[in-house]
């Protein structure tokens, strides 16, 4: 029985040893091509004719954190410890910058009859990275479909660390009846995540209509860090961008109903890379353990044989 237990322990040890290196070393296959499929459907069936654009936002580092690509490195974005709400806010923030600055997608395409769109579409192949997917509004009969921007990290990993290089996602749409559309108020509210020491007295917020500046307002403590634009046209894609984010702060813009939440979070001291240092070592430590263990077990086997 003890030999069986020992064998089990050794097998588990061997499994951990050989399974661990890829995880410890991080994305060993970052050069491998990835694929993304958008499967667009609602309760009425497949959504065809929807145009989506793909933007490569960040590289995936060996420790599985992200590093913004050159195009986006200048934007004060927060990338650490994001939950689903944080990822959604990041997608909204990026889509605002993309609309404002007219940034070009790395790929784009239109969903086919089955509601599917495969990336790469126009480019020969895609590499690992964090991608933003932005869809254009689509009117089907008397219904307007407004795709929600979202981020997807390729390859995708599950909780066990297994990587998936061919990923299918199901974009979400907001549906509106065209005949119900009417002018509405939109508000913006500033949220500070800091100790208040370096906070500026005011910040500027720009409201964009289809990528063109519609209004610029100054928010400050005397106005309760909020503003409301009355009776804005319904047929316009409204977005908010903070103009001139204060030094030392990251920004995220999210939308809850008719209110844009603009959050400024102070970067921690240092370079903002998070709390973990990069892995800078080879896996040498198991070698002496395996060697000593192997010799020990061989000697034990030899003794058993001698005993018989």
């Amino acid at each position: 029985m003890s030999v069986r237990c020992f064998c089990g322990i050794v097998l588990v040890f061997c499994f951990v040893l050989f399974a661990a290196p890829p995880f410890i070393e991080g994305y060993a296959e970052t050069d491998r091509a990835v694929r993304l499929t958008l499967d667009c459907r609602d309760q009425d069936g497949a959504v065809s004719g929807a145009r989506f654009s793909l933007y490569r936002i960040a590289d995936v580092l060996p420790d599985r954190t992200w590093s913004l690509t050159d195009t986006y490195a200048g934007y004060p974005l927060w990338l650490q410890d994001l939950d689903s709400a944080g990822l959604h806010a990041l997608a909204c923030t990026l889509s605002g910058y993309i609309a404002r600055d007219g940034l070009s997608p790395c790929d784009s395409g239109i969903t086919g009859d089955m509601g599917q769109l495969h990336f790469p579409s126009r480019q020969p192949e895609m590499t690992a990275g964090l991608y933003l997917v932005i869809g254009e509004p689509l009117t089907v009969e008397d219904t307007k479909l407004l795709p929600d921007p979202f981020l997807v990290c390729l390859p995708e990993t599950d909780t066990s660390g297994a990587a998936f290089f061919d990923v299918t996602v199901f974009p979400k749409f907001e549906k509106r009846a065209v005949w119900k559309e009417a002018a509405a108020d939109l508000s913006v509210e500033k949220i500070w995540l800091d100790d208040g020491a370096e906070r500026p007295e005011s910040i500027n917020i720009q409201l964009y209509c289809d990528g063109v500046v519609y209004s610029t307002v100054t928010l400050g403590a005397e106005y309760g860090w909020r503003h409301t634009w009355p009776s804005l046209a319904a047929g316009c894609s409204w977005q908010v961008v903070e103009d001139g984010v204060p030094e030392g702060y990251a920004v995220s813009v999210d939308r809850e109903g008719q209110t844009f939440l603009v959050t400024n979070r102070a970067y921690p001291a240092g370079d903002g890379t998070g709390g973990v240092l990069p892995q800078t070592g080879r896996l040498w430590w198991p070698v002496p353990l395996l060697t000593v263990g192997g010799i020990f077990v061989l000697l034990a086997g030899r003794n058993k044989r001698g005993g018989t």
Binding site: D59, Q279, L290, T291, V297, T308
Partner: protein
Amino acid sequence: MKARAVSLTLIGVLLLASALCLTGVNLQDERRAGRDIAQILSTWSESPDPSGAIAVSAFQHSDTAMPTVEIGGASYIGRLSLPDAVLPILADWNDLATAPGRFSGSVSDKNLVIAGHNYRAHFGSLTQLSFGDAVSFTGVDGHRHRYQVTGIDVIAGTDRDGILAGDWHLTMFTCTFSGTHRLAVRCRCIP
């Protein structure tokens, strides 16, 4: 009894074979790292005027950008001279398998932090450094900054603040043997 003996023998062989394979993989990676460094330095020295390719780039959340030179599609901020090695230093730490890279700070702000693999051809020799040893960093502008080792720390791999703490003009760090901690060699400028 005989079956147990055979099982133990097989397990022992398996363990020894695993140790051998792991050693082989590690040594192969070591050799690859050495070749990469030699090739980068060779390309660098062959370039008649590296400064002609200098392009200043800004890094995400970086406190200070440093001028860089492009070699083989990667950006480098300069060359680090240790007592027994010269190493090209990448502008960031995205590809430490190729060369050590800037983790934080800059030469001009006197807070440069460089991360490197513990390959023998990279920062494997950090363990050999001792107080008073001379180190220098030559930027892509050709300016040489001389340092002296004035501190050696061992810091947990999760303690990023620990690496950045202190008034050190240059910090070089790499993994310890276990990989759970980082050996940090601290330096100050020689006036």
